[in-house]
Amino acid sequence: MPLNIVVLLKRVPDTESKITIRDNAVVTEGLNFVLDPYGEYGLEKALQLVEQHGGQVTAVLCGPAEAKETIRKALAVGADQAVHIIDPALEGGDAAATSRVLAAALKKIAAEAPGGFDMVWTGKQAVDEDNAQVPVRVAELLDLPHVNSIIEFELGAEGKTARCVREVDGERDIMTTTLPAILTAQQGLGELRYPSLKGIMGAKKKPIADWNASALGLDTATVGKVGAKVEITNLEPPPARPPGKIIPGDAQTAAHELARLLHEEAKVI
């Protein structure tokens, strides 16, 4: 039962990087961009499933020209092929607009493969805008079931169902779903493998299809900045916290002073 798995990946700044803001936008020069970490967990699961059951993994990323490099990383670790959705008309979209684009891409992928796809792995949230809504929206747009925030995944017999353990709000649930489904990955599902040298070399020969809005049959009034229903109008660094007080002295002295400050100055106790 070979599997046809799609992984949605976003190009985001490395979580550790320093964010500088100029003119209401993040300064991208000098920023280290990576695959979104939660998407990476989904990619690893997709690769493992294909190792066990056969099939193929298609990585899909919607982003600017610079994202090619990021896509190659997915190919280097083992994705078989990639789709780069690239079109200036798609930039600046909100979650509603982006999910419309990704849903259209998934429809096209399903139409081009004989049995459609079996599942779509995504991250539970992209660590840039932390929206945590694109995959769930895509599921609804395609009338597919979804399971959020998965830490364990088991394919059912015949590959038509799955059993997932998910972590949400400090609780852990077991969920079952039929396939195809949209699946969002949470930390704990498994770290993405490192690319081998052979993988990196091989990635250069793997196909990356470039699709634009018209290839996806999208009306540009419904996507990108114009199609967005909400927009960022201002971006700032977080308000500076007043410099903290380091309370000197041995543990006893410092604890005494801290209790006093919490009571008299901060008035929290």
Partner: protein, 325 residues
């Protein structure tokens, strides 16, 4: 369009969650600015008591879907129920709590109705007639103002940032909404780890968290004693959870809970960005760490450089002197 602001309540076995009452507060402020009224909705199985409570928070109307099909969480069923309520209420703004549940169901129903949605907001206000939301992005390294280009629009609000309203007003009418639920394709079949702490982490006004510095499961004991004194909840870093010293239900951060308490005490936690993402909207931050260069001190209001096993018990004793009994 009507200027109803609809709040979606969230409950669990013990009753409605506190965030449900905070949403009413936010909705009242928006309704005052937009000239509209506040309505509420509850959905689930046997949720009559939740509806009765919500009806007393000073709203004009409560909608209820009470259906056996909502006993276990299933995204599609909850989406259908919400879509039925929203279609009937015809609001200009729908408010959810930015909990795992709220973020998940709001995204699905927003797609079904083709509405905009802004998740995980800390402030909602009306500016020149438009809804403008404040939300931390890049794990809290930037603060965005997000404007809804128009109405209707959905929002999820981070819990614990505004006072909850009281349920002590004359009861609003309650209207049952019926919906035919199809068998869902994805569903919860069992909850294996349940919330069990005395004080809910997401709602606590004081949180005391331990990290790798507590060194073992027994290392949480002094934190728990201090938590008892302060009626606080105990939190943890991912490192402490991964080591198996404390249950996942206690984890704070990007992959755990987002908390915004009045005071957050971090003991033996270095202050990694994924941890800060879950607690940097706390009002007051206290750090206790052996390493004077630990990044947590950069965002702490008060810091003690020292061994948490000396500092925490001493702090507990000092606080007991101030708060006898």
């Amino acid at each position: 369009m009507s200027n109803h602001i609809l709040t979606i309540a969230e409950g669990r076995a013990e009753g409605l969650r506190k965030v449900s009452f905070e949403l009413v507060n936010v909705a009242q402020q928006l309704a005052a600015a937009l000239g509209g009224d506040v309505q509420g909705a509850v959905l689930g199985t046997n949720v009559g008591a939740w509806a009765d409570t919500l009806a007393k928070t000073g709203m004009s109307q409560v909608y209820v879907v009470d259906d056996a099909g909502l006993a276990n969480f299933a995204p599609e069923s909850y989406t259908s129920a919400l879509a039925a309520i929203i279609t009937q209420a015809n609001p200009s703004i729908v408010l959810f709590g930015a909990t795992g549940w709220g973020k998940e169901v709001s995204a699905r129903v927003a797609a079904r109705l083709d509405w905009g949605l802004v998740t995980d907001c800390t402030v909602a206000q009306v500016v020149n007639g438009a809804l403008v939301l404040t939300r931390p992005i890049y794990a809290g390294k930037a603060i965005a103002q997000v404007k809804a280009k128009g109405f209707p629009v959905m929002v999820s609000m981070r819990p614990n940032l505004v006072p909850p309203v009281e349920a002590d007003k004359p009861a609003a009418p309650i209207q049952a909404v019926t919906v035919t639920l199809k068998e869902p394709r994805a569903k919860v079949i069992e909850t294996v780890v349940k919330q069990k702490s005395k004080v809910d982490l997401g709602e606590a006004s004081i949180v005391i968290s331990g990290g790798r510095g507590v060194k073992g499961p027994e290392g949480f004991a002094p934190l728990e004693e201090l938590a008892d004194t302060l009626n606080a909840a105990v939190g943890a870093s991912r490192a402490a959870v991964d080591a198996g010293w404390i249950d996942y239900t206690h984890q704070v951060g990007q992959t755990g809970k987002t908390v915004s308490p009045k005071m957050y005490i971090a003991a033996g936690i270095s202050g990694a960005i994924q941890h800060l993402a879950g607690m940097s909207s706390s009002k007051l931050i206290v750090a206790i760490n052996k390493d004077p260069d630990a990044p947590i001190f950069k965002i702490a209001d008060y810091g003690i450089v020292g061994d948490l096993f000396d500092v925490i018990p001493a702090l507990n004793a000092e606080i007991k002197k101030i708060q006898p009994g």
